[in-house]
Assembly symmetry: C2
Homo-oligomer: 205 residues x 2
């Protein structure tokens, strides 16, 4: 089989529960690939280079961005984090699906590099629900919460640029993860990805 792996990109408002849903999804699809991210932050105890992260200097990270070697990246608390393009290429060539949990600019950048990547936006039921989640989980200052909500609204207005929208209803993580599994199944069955099966049908007589 010379089937390319699918890049499965999960994005959506911060605080919307992406991490929990993706964790459950990984339990349901244990053979989905991991991508090792690159980061400029220092390794923590027990972390291995090339396994947990590729630990690189800020100069090297910026060089990778400039040379187009970084599929997407983000700055968080003064450190850069990103997905090296070679990680995606390696998985695709091995026919392994890869799930990436990234913010929307990163998602669109992945789609630009790999037009057959599948972009999924995970949203809570409502802005109200998102606000409740943000307020309940942390001791973030009011202005941070207000900024997060404004960003969320902006992101969700980009919905038409995504392939799929999945609503992460409160206390329905399993249903949500199963919907993601359904999408992955369907994407594999798209006629453009089923040439091997069609040829197999026609050639075995």
């Amino acid at each position: 089989m010379s089937k390319a792996g699918i890049l499965f990109v999960i994005s959506g408002p911060s605080g919307g529960g992406k991490g929990t849903v993706v964790k459950r999804f990984r339990e349901l699809v244990p053979d989905i690939g991991f991508s090792v991210s690159a980061t400029t932050r220092a390794p923590r105890d027990g972390e291995e280079d090339g396994k947990d992260y590729y630990f690189v200097s800020r100069e090297e990270f910026l060089r990778m961005i400039e040379c187009g070697e970084m599929l997407e990246y983000n700055e968080f608390c003064g450190n850069l984090y990103g997905t090296p393009k070679k990680e995606a290429d390696r998985a695709r060539e091995a026919g392994v699906d890869l799930i990436l949990e990234i913010e929307s600019n990163g998602a669109f950048n992945v789609k630009k590099n790999y037009p057959d990547a599948v972009l999924i936006m995970l949203i809570p039921e409502s802005m109200k629900e998102l606000e409740e989640r943000l307020r309940s989980r942390a001791s973030e200052p009011e202005d941070v919460i207000v900024r997060r909500l404004a960003t969320a609204e902006h992101e969700v207005r980009l919905a038409p640029r995504y392939d799929y929208i999945v609503v992460n209803e409160k206390d329905k993580i399993d249903e949500c993860a199963e919907e993601l599994v359904g999408i992955l199944t369907a994407e594999h069955k798209k006629s453009g990805r089923m040439n091997d099966a069609v040829n197999n049908f026609l050639n075995n007589r």
Copy 2:
């Protein structure tokens, strides 16, 4: 919710096990709609007009075809069978999904009338497997079997015109039906069909 129901069209070579898979699929998705077909054959004992079939005269059936009232139709053993367009409209307007199990010309005709219909071709693993199924199930004359195989090959070569290809592996009816469920789930989550959810998110704050 003003969501239109999805027309879910299952097609593929005769003898490929469509009927069995669709039956299992219906068990998994019990609220999927039924479409009442029109036919020119005489009612059998206990069959009700408008419930089991719309029983119409050949003249009326031909008039419906000419007036574009028939979504797809077929002749079988001298009788005409078809799906009235109003059946599909009724289900779509009610937001009910509808599954149609029809041959490929009918499938393409549905797509022409409803570009957002979802066309799925169900194929056995191989021509060899299809031949074995055809030979095992019936006492059909050799020339009928040969013709069925030639038709199957022709149909499967039309694979790129379908949205999805699903392989109906021997003794794996459940897996196959579950793949169809995955496709239906995914189709409902396509961003173009999720406007209500997006507006609901943005407007509830």
